[in-house]
């Protein structure tokens, strides 16, 4: 039957395209959206701010891409680059792991900080990077964040922090825990100085970062569907011995429970930040 033949040809054609896409995926040109399963051309995804054009899923961003999206071109002056990872526990294999990550990610630690302009507004900006040991906070992250806060105080500038973190960095033990105290104490000083602090929570923000500077913004924004919490979902499930409901600890859930001010889509983020900074001058 003709129809059958057509169908068969189409099937063949589809298979060929699929194979081609699969082959391209192997060489890294395509990605599959893990939410809607659509295969997306990488270039297209990046041009769409790493948001799925099909379902709107906000993919995780490297600090480099985030800075490119938010900062006026050519205005980012990095600070704190000299602050590098400590190994206070002399934890076996840790520094080697860090060296490997540096090579792989082309960044030195899980946060990048600097003074910049956002739609012409000067600000101190710290952007965490989840590709670097899940954005965990050890000495270097805590110290860079604290330096950013102190730089904002010294220069009387607003502070913007993009958070993404699996929590405190286990490999640095108690020193990581103390970064929570250090950064939060610095935020207290920033508040005392009457300066504006905008905290932006992205997927995922958990643990010691949630329980310190991330939750202390004068205004707290989040990206859609970001996972935000103190305890991780698996730990909670193990504790209560049941599955968590869909959407538990999502940005929408936090908004409903009164812990964030607003959910902002990536395409509106830069304009929203600039507007908020202007409103606080």
């Amino acid at each position: 039957m003709i129809i059958d033949k057509v169908k068969k040809v189409n099937e063949k054609e589809e298979k060929r395209i699929k194979n081609e896409k699969a082959a391209d995926m192997m060489i890294g040109k395509w990605v599959k959206c893990d939410k809607c399963k659509e295969i997306i051309y990488k270039e297209e995804l990046h041009q769409n701010l790493s948001v799925c054009p099909n379902c709107g899923k906000h993919f995780r961003l490297s600090a480099r891409r985030r800075i490119k999206q938010i900062v006026d071109e050519g205005t980012f002056q990095e600070i704190g680059k000299e602050i590098t990872t400590n190994d206070p526990l002399h934890f076996e294999g840790y520094l080697k792991k860090i060296e490997g990550l540096k090579e792989k990610t082309k960044i030195e630690e899980a946060v990048q900080c600097g003074i910049c302009e956002i739609e012409g507004e000067r600000a101190v900006l710290a952007v965490m990077d989840g590709n670097f040991l899940m954005g965990s906070m050890g000495y270097a992250v805590g110290e860079r964040i604290t330096l950013s806060i102190e730089t904002a105080i010294q220069n009387k500038l607003p502070l913007v922090i993009f958070c993404v973190s699996g929590g405190a960095r286990m490999q640095e033990g108690i020193i990581s825990l103390m970064q929570m105290a250090k950064t939060s104490a610095a935020i207290a000083k920033l508040k005392e100085a009457g300066l504006f602090y905008l905290s932006i929570l992205t997927d995922p923000t958990t643990g010691g970062v949630t329980a310190s500077f991330a939750s202390l913004g004068d205004i707290i924004l989040a990206e859609p569907k970001a996972l935000i919490g103190f305890a991780g979902p698996r730990v909670i499930e193990q504790t209560i011995k049941q599955k968590l409901p869909e959407g538990f600890q999502s940005a929408e859930f936090l908004l409903e429970h009164g812990f964030i001010d607003k959910i902002v889509e990536r395409k509106d983020m830069k304009a929203t930040i600039a507007k908020l900074i202007r409103l606080h001058q």
């Binding site: 033990g173 108690i174 207290a188 939750s215 730990v235």
Partner: protein
């Protein structure tokens, strides 16, 4: 007690019969009046607090309270506070500041409670706020880890001018079991983890995280509780008197520097 391993200290720190926050509060201070509630949601029994006197000086005391048996532990949620516990603590500490009372906190928790309600009511925010506010309270704060000081749940009442540990107490980013399951992918390697994590009073003093260590008798604080109480009382009194001599500006400056340098 020189040759005792880190894991042995973990076991000592967790002993059911080890004195708990209320034991210290009742024996060190006079006229303790417990105060309840966060004025918002509930009274969390995993955190206790109130007013007392120490040799006639009015003080505010806060403590994470574990039980000494199964029934007490269920009532106290095994010393794992919910957000309302931290908010009660903050309310009492702000009250202390208003009435110029020094604050003494007793830390003893396996961690903040990881439950659904805790997340719904903002566990992360509650801890963050305590840490931030404690860095700025204009009265002396002495924090004493008496048993298990684990994670942000411990730090939420452990920002102060003096951070002190009992000799067999432990203070860590999370339990050795948790650490082992994350980094060694094997919770049964907790002993090894305890050794490597630097969680004993001696290790933490070397790291500059704590100021002082209060000696314990062999076998733990309960073996000669009177002696431990006497030493601890003296320690608190001496430090309160010293800290009260500082101007408020200097007190806050020193407290900031203390955490800034880590």
């Amino acid at each position: 007690m020189g040759n005792i391993t880190a894991w042995e200290r973990v076991e000592l720190a967790r002993q059911l019969e080890r004195p708990k926050a209320l034991d210290y509060i009742e024996h060190i201070f006079d006229e303790f009046i417990e105060l309840h509630g966060d004025r918002n949601f509930a009274d969390d029994k995993a955190i206790i607090g109130g007013i007392a006197t120490l040799e006639g000086i009015p003080v505010t005391v806060i403590g994470e309270q574990k039980g000494k048996n199964a029934k007490e532990n269920i009532e106290r949620n095994f010393g794992m506070p919910n957000p309302e516990g931290y908010r009660k603590a903050l309310r009492l500490m702000k009250q202390a500041e208003k009435f110029h009372r020094p604050i003494i906190t007793f830390i003893d928790t396996p961690g903040a409670y990881p439950g659904m309600g805790a997340e719904e009511r903002g566990q992360g925010e509650a801890i963050a706020k305590n840490i931030m506010e404690m860095s700025q309270l204009k009265v002396p704060i002495i924090c004493i880890v008496i048993g298990e000081g684990s994670s942000g749940g411990a730090l939420a009442i452990a920002v102060g001018d003096k951070i002190t540990m009992l000799e067999n107490a432990i203070y860590s980013i999370l339990s050795p079991e948790g650490f082992a399951s994350i980094l060694y992918k094997d919770a049964s390697k907790a002993k090894e983890a305890a050794q490597n994590m630097k969680i004993t009073a001696q290790d933490l003093k070397k790291l500059g995280v704590i100021d002082d260590i209060i000696k314990e008798p062999k076998g733990g604080a309960q073996e000669d509780f009177e002696k431990v109480i006497k030493d601890l009382k003296q320690y608190i009194l001496k430090n309160i008197k010293q800290l009260q001599k500082c101007t408020k500006e200097k007190l806050l400056q020193q407290r900031y520097e203390k955490f800034r340098k880590i």
